[in-house]
């Protein structure tokens, strides 16, 4: 338990991930589903940022000419978070465009209603 309190950023990230995943599975509204997906993305950024931090060190920007590993935090997670943000923006935009097309043709955002309408169309 003390370990969990020391690692509270990671624990919060994990819980956020679970909340986002639950949103993704349980919400019927498609836009809320994608909000859940974005919460999951955010949890991953928080986790990566927490893993890169080292107490007492500064951001990896050389201002006073010190080139020592002991002086800076880990720069790799910053790059990974950047990749994650870009991909999540792209995926969100694409999926929202798809959702809008679905809304145009079915008139609802409810996943179940769309599925039953599609099934009916299939049968006719």
């Amino acid at each position: 338990m003390t370990q969990l309190i020391i690692n509270h950023y990671e624990a919060a990230a994990v819980i956020l991930f679970g909340i986002g995943f639950m949103n993704l599975l349980l919400q019927n509204n498609l836009i809320k589903k994608f909000i859940g997906l974005n919460i999951m993305d955010t949890a991953v950024y928080l986790f990566l940022a927490a893993k890169g931090y080292i107490t007492g060190r500064i951001a990896p920007i050389v201002v006073d000419g010190i080139l020592d590993v002991e002086h800076y935090i880990n720069p790799v997670p910053s790059g990974l978070v950047l990749t994650g943000i870009v991909v999540s923006v792209s995926v969100t935009a694409f999926s929202l465009a798809l959702v809008q097309r679905l809304y145009k043709s079915y008139g609802t955002l409810d996943m179940d209603k769309i599925m039953s309408m599609a099934r009916k169309e299939e049968e006719e």
């Binding site: 370990q3 969990l4 020391i6 690692n7 509270h8 950023y9 990671e10 624990a11 994990v14 819980i15 991930f17 679970g18 995943f21 639950m22 599975l25 349980l26 927490a50 893993k51 890169g52 931090y53 080292i54 107490t55 951001a59 990896p60 920007i61 050389v62 201002v63 080139l67 020592d68 590993v69 002991e70 800076y72 880990n74 720069p75 790799v76 997670p77 910053s78 790059g79 950047l82 990749t83 943000i85 870009v86 991909v87 923006v89 792209s90 995926v91 935009a93 694409f94 465009a97 798809l98 809008q100 097309r101 145009k104 043709s105 599609a118 099934r119 169309e121 299939e122 049968e123 006719e124």
Partner: protein
């Protein structure tokens, strides 16, 4: 959903493809010729199955909800147990800070010339990763163009009229406070965005954040002064030209630098003195390319989602 799609029959494959094309074009897939729709054999049986399916809907819903809550909670518990075993937060013996990090920090300044080690990492050591990111952004905006652009395939006459009415209304609605504030603040936003892009190798920031700031400035300009005003200098043609030429420049420049670097050839790109604005080799031009792509993409998403056109 379409159980004929798994058949290898060429005719039916053709049908699936046609339906897909029709769906992409926004037509009703069912307006195709009759034989293209799934065959009607076993219709009675199918409807029986369907009836059963509908009767059990509530039960299935309940099971689905319970199962998903159980799965989510078990994922959270499992991950929390993992987190408990992770090395403590903020410790310097974290296995993630290994010899790769050592290399990046100790020789990053000398090898890339960038004061900002993260910029040196993502635009020099891992430049193809960043190229992939820009390509993903470009691909996403192209998909949104296919799905949302207002053209003969995507829109009916009714909607067209509605949008025209909206535009008419917007013209009459002159929001003086927004316009005055925007006239003052938009140039500052652009200036700040360009500053962030150009100082990407010297300070926190870079192409992605600066491009997002410039894109936000464009969006504010479009909200305050109307879409038509933006279209005088930023049309779909300029959008595609800027995006494609930036991607190609990025690809060519980084390809050259990787080619010379991997073969130990002499590169003509000077490194400059670290700390100067014109230093660190290719990082500054690459930051500008990425910034332009990101700014175009951000504004493109906004314009496509609100007006259906750039």
């Amino acid at each position: 959903m379409n159980n004929t799609s798994q058949n290898t029959n060429p005719k039916e494959n053709n049908c699936t493809w046609k339906r897909f094309v029709a769906w992409v074009n926004g037509e009703e897939a069912l307006t195709l010729p009759k034989h293209c729709i799934s065959e009607k054999v076993e219709k009675s049986e199918k409807s029986k199955v369907r009836k059963n399916w509908e009767e059990t809907a509530e039960l299935r819903q309940k099971i689905y909800r319970i199962l998903s809550i159980v799965i989510c909670l078990s994922i959270i518990v499992m991950l929390l147990i993992t987190v408990k075993e992770l090395p403590p937060f903020g410790s310097s013996t974290n296995p993630a800070s290994n010899e790769v990090v050592e290399r990046y920090i100790e020789s990053g300044l000398e090898e890339t010339g960038a004061v900002n080690i993260v910029a040196g990492m993502i635009l020099d050591y891992r430049a193809f990763d960043t190229f992939g990111e820009s390509a993903v952004l470009f691909l996403a905006v192209m998909c949104v163009v296919i799905l949302m652009r207002r053209d003969s395939n995507n829109i009916s006459a009714e909607e067209d009229q509605e949008i025209a009415e909206d535009e008419e209304f917007e013209k009459e609605d002159s929001n003086i406070i927004l316009k005055q504030i925007a006239a003052f603040i938009v140039p500052l936003i652009f200036l700040f965005g360009i500053y962030v892009i150009l100082n990407g190798h010297l300070s926190p920031g870079g192409g992605f954040s600066g491009g997002a700031i410039v894109g936000a400035g464009l969006i504010l300009y479009s909200i305050a002064f109307g879409h038509e005003k933006v279209r005088t200098f930023f049309t779909f043609r300029t959008f595609t030209k800027i995006s494609v030429s930036c991607l190609l420049t990025y690809c060519a420049a980084k390809g050259y630098s990787f080619f010379t670097g991997a073969n130990h050839l002499h590169s003509i790109i000077p490194k400059g003195t670290p700390g100067n604005i014109l230093s660190s080799g290719l990082i500054l031009p690459l930051n500008i390319c990425v910034g332009m792509i990101v700014a175009c993409t951000m504004y493109g998403f906004y314009a496509l989602f609100t007006k259906g056109d750039i």
